[in-house]
Symmetry: C2
Subunit: 200 residues, 2 copies
DNA sequence: ACTAGTGGATAGTTACGCTATCCATGACTG
DNA sequence: CAGTCATGGATAGCGTAACTATCCACTAGT
């Protein structure tokens, strides 16, 4: 398995210890068999840590959600959100309300404890702290763009038919999507600024 | 300064040692004066580490770019991109070409060593490794959305008039923007899935 | 038969981001 | 103006996270 994925053997052992990988079936006391599923899972772990920068513990939670019997899209998404976001500062009531007003205006239903809502509020708070009050004016444009992204995401997810695939697709799509969007944003910035300013 | 920002004194000393903060002007051998600029800088450091998850070393590079005399937007952006992205795996020639073909089709000029290009290629490589080949079909939708985001970003940046503000605005906008977009994406996903599937 | 490799357990390592302690000195408090 | 407290500066220490190394008994392949 190490040879097939490039992950060092001691690292695989470590993941086994941490419960990220289930032990293979023992054919004898010191010999186990690992199949395609294990290899796939191992690659997923590396993707989550490398691209998504999730901690080992966070990866464990996400994988745990994937393996739970009551496989609900909602549940897996929730765990993902919690894993990705850093639970952050309270404070700045004004920014808080500003963020909620924004969500209400959009008509996006929200639960104040939703990790994504909290993440958004944190960003607004930080922006104000930094004296970049006008940053929030960007949010409408960002939200418009994210609407389009979300439509594409849903299209993508719903194309899959098997439940397991859907859930893994959500996890992979969330992580890789965030990374891809960040990269594309910078490339688009370069393209737009080149067009507008004639810069290189 | 510690009292005004909530950052513990030893931490501030640590940042001073690491060169993230310039020493205040000494009024006497053991008494220094720190002004508004220092406080602002300190808040920026915390924002970059907390929201942007940059390492202390990466923050140092970004701040260094901000402070350089030849203040070019391009330069600061480049440093930001390098700081944000993890320099990652080579390999998978097919994915590499697929990503470049994508960029060419978009008409976005690119330099293969651009960190953002490399980040994008990495994502495509990872997607293929994970067996999610259809993930790349999403990229067009993402790129469309990012076009809109980039237009808004440029509008925002160009509204500022003073050079220093522009550069700090770019840094802040990049970090906070990425975080905001990720959060909005999840909220949009919830809204879209609620509309389409009637889920909660 | 024998070398290389395995599962399992335990201990050690490295990097990072702080924290703690010490010192001599200066600033505010009564 | 004595006494407490905080400061700049330097050095050393701590806690966590993610591995990595070593050991052991054993076994698969040659």
């Amino acid at each position: 398995m190490s040879r097939r994925t490039g992950v060092p053997v001691p690292t695989i052992k470590y993941y086994l210890r941490e419960g990220l990988l289930s032990p293979g079936e023992l054919t004898s006391p010191n010999q186990a068999r690992y199949g395609e599923a294990h290899v796939r899972r191992l690659k997923l772990i590396r993707a989550l840590t490398d691209v998504g920068k999730l901690s080992i513990a966070a990866v464990g939670e996400v994988l745990g959600a994937l393996d739970e019997p009551e496989q609900s899209l909602h549940h897996v998404l929730g765990v993902m959100q919690r894993s990705v976001s850093t639970n952050a500062a309270a404070g700045d009531e004004a920014a808080h309300q500003e963020a909620e007003k924004f969500l209400a205006r959009r008509g996006w239903h929200y639960h104040p404890d939703d990790p994504s809502v909290r993440a958004l509020v944190d960003v607004v708070v930080k922006a104000r702290e930094l004296g970049h009050d006008r940053f929030v004016e960007q949010l409408d444009a960002y939200a418009d763009a994210c609407q389009g992204i979300a439509e594409a995401d849903l299209d993508h997810v719903l194309r899959r038919t098997e439940v397991e695939d859907v859930l893994e697709g959500v996890v992979v799509g969330t992580m890789l999507g965030d990374a891809a969007i960040a990269a594309l944003r910078r490339l688009a910035q370069q393209a737009v600024s080149a067009r507008r300013l004639g810069e290189v």
